[in-house]
């Protein structure tokens, strides 16, 4: 049985039909074609599916889509402006070599964005804590932390 689901995605309204067992990740990737949120594990362990729900980072692979009704979802597409200008975090990741294969990058950026929205001057420990749920098997952690700190220090 399918249910109607309406929610806000990156500032626009979305209307889809979903199964109760569909996750937000399923809906993003397979119904709305927002594929920036990745499916790395489907068990909440890797962080590649991280999106913002009402401004807070969550695992979209663990979020039952129906529970998102009427709420606000943001993916990495929401970071750049409508004319394509990159967010400071995106620019910093790019310039500091914080992306290698790029698969963890959208999730990392959303975790970093949420951190800076909540705390514009985090300590290094707070930066590390904020991304501690995002795995990077290419091993770009050092550059990722550097990139985030570069944004913190520039503002």
């Amino acid at each position: 049985m399918k249910y109607a689901l309406t929610f806000t995605l990156n500032g626009g309204e979305v209307d889809v039909l979903v199964k109760p067992t569909d996750t937000l990740l399923d809906v993003l990737r397979e119904k709305i074609n927002i594929v920036s949120a990745k499916r790395g594990c489907d068990s909440g362990d890797c962080g590649t599916c991280t999106v913002l729900l009402d401004g807070k980072p969550v695992r979209s692979c663990l979020t039952i889509a129906m529970t998102v009704a009427g709420r606000d979802v943001k993916t990495v597409e929401s970071l750049s402006s409508t004319d394509g200008e990159l967010h400071a975090l995106q620019r910093a990741f790019h310039e500091h070599g914080a992306t290698q294969c790029g698969f963890c990058t959208p999730g990392m950026l959303m975790s970093a964005k949420a951190l800076l929205d909540m705390n514009s001057k985090p300590t290094r420990d707070e930066v590390v804590d904020a991304i501690s749920g995002n795995l990077c098997r290419c091993g770009a952690y050092y550059e990722i932390i550097e990139a985030i700190e570069a944004v913190v220090n520039s503002e």
Partner: protein, 430 residues
């Protein structure tokens, strides 16, 4: 003036990565695309007595079910004796037996669960040492030891180890175990295949090695190379795990059968349990050293646990020969390398492919020898580090050696003050 050398240049695909626009294979959705779930062996070893896929075929929403007899060409991947889909003999838990293409994954999974499978279970062997015994259960009919042209193990001899041991002041022995590792790239294995408008099989692949795989795939599909087109190069991490075909063959098979686009995506659990691994190793190292720190002899028995099929397991043993003693000169070397079958997932390449293993072992031995003769662990390494002109275990001449300078720099960066005589050493000569 150098425009790019020595500068930090942002990678050209970086913008795609940070905007989420980089397209990975799982990001591809095509009209009418089908999704795949596979039936995997629930047992480690056995013989399939009955396989009835008709309940899956008759499930609403299922487009096709593929089994061994549906393979147009050779039912072989990775190794010549390893099937794409098992017809009869199961060699490891998780081996693919059938593949279902359906309108969505839930339907495909439902269909897989309806397949009737009867297996006569047999006794598996997991421990490579046990597998080497003559009465061990046979993983393959030819026996559990891979045959090199030198017999059941690869032989390497340099100098005379027994003479080397007799000239040593101390001999140290150790058994060193390395476990199986998984690459666990952030992107699990996945493939999207379809027959295009020119009747070519197009495969969107995560392969790290198109040219290795094209030939294998052509043999499986019985298609000429100009009828198979692999599209890829955007990989969410591979580290050697995507050097073997994991999904392209099954997605391709179902695409040929259904004439529709087919996606086959491995779950993280499947990827972690059943994809190729860094194989486990058992090393028996015996090293002889003089009081002055000079390494005199190194005798090694290496056992590579290659799992249920031998793909690059033999290659691992051959390649390992280059670095048995690490980057240290040793006049007398004896190496016996075995590739042993067990009823476990298949060993193949992974970052530092088996060189990591002998490096790990030889560094442990350097520390143990240093301890045994009461020498500083830096010093013993400086003394034995390759210089230009030294010969490696396979008699190749070392050129452009650099360990000494690397250690000197590492010590400096690490805030460690090395004695002057070590800081004065050079890779250019002894």
């Amino acid at each position: 003036m150098l425009k790019y050398v020595g500068k930090q240049i942002p990678r050209y695909e970086g913008i795609g990565h940070v905007t989420g626009r980089t397209t990975y294979v799982d990001d591809i959705t095509l009209p009418g695309m089908l999704y795949t779930k596979v039936l995997r062996s629930p047992v480690h070893k056995g013989v399939i007595r009955r396989l009835d896929v008709s309940p899956a075929e008759n499930t609403h929403g299922v487009a096709a079910v593929a089994v061994a007899k549906d393979i147009p060409g050779q039912n072989a991947v990775w190794a010549a004796d390893q099937p794409v889909l098992v017809e009869r003999n199961i060699r490891y838990k998780g081996e693919c037996i059938a593949a279902v293409a359906a309108v969505d994954e839930d339907t495909a999974m439902e269909a897989v669960e309806r397949i009737k499978l009867d297996i006569e279970e047999q006794t598996p062997v997991f421990d490579p040492i046990e597998a080497m015994k003559p009465d061990a259960p046979k993983v393959r009919p030819e026996g559990n030891l891979w045959q090199f042209n030198s017999g059941d193990h690869r032989v390497l001899r340099k100098g005379n180890v027994e003479k080397g041991f007799s000239e040593s002041d101390t001999v140290v022995e150790k058994t060193i175990l390395n476990k199986m590792n998984d690459h666990a790239p952030m992107e699990p294995h996945v493939s999207v295949a379809y027959v295009d408008e020119s009747d070519r099989l197009k495969i969107h692949t995560v392969s790290q090695a198109f040219h290795f795989h094209l030939g294998q795939l052509c043999a499986i599909f019985n298609l000429a190379a100009n009828r198979v087109c692999m599209v890829g190069g955007t990989v969410g991490g591979g580290f050697g795990g995507k050097n073997e075909i994991h999904c392209d063959h099954i997605a391709g098979l179902l695409a040929l059968k259904t004439r529709k686009p087919v996606k086959y995506r491995m779950t993280r659990k499947e990827d972690m349990l059943y994809s190729t691994k860094r194989g486990a190793f058992v090393f028996d190292y015996k090293c002889g050293v003089k009081k002055n720190g000079r390494l005199m002899a190194c005798k090694v028995r290496a056992i590579h646990d290659v799992g249920a099929y031998q793909t690059l397991g033999e290659y691992a043993i051959q390649k390992q020969c280059l670095y048995i003693t690490g980057p240290y000169v040793c006049p007398n070397v004896w190496y016996d390398g075995y590739a042993v079958y067990t009823n476990k997932p298949v060993a193949s390449s992974m970052r530092g492919f088996n060189i990591i293993n002998v490096t790990h072992a030889s560094e442990i031995m350097m520390n143990l020898m240093a301890e045994a003769i009461g020498m500083d662990p830096w010093e013993i390494r400086f003394i034995n580090a390759w210089r230009d002109g030294d010969t490696g275990p396979t008699m190749w001449k070392v050129t452009a050696a650099g360990l000494i300078e690397t250690m000197q720099k590492a010590a400096e960066v690490g805030g460690i003050e090395l004695p002057a005589h070590l800081m004065a050493m050079s890779s250019r000569g002894r």
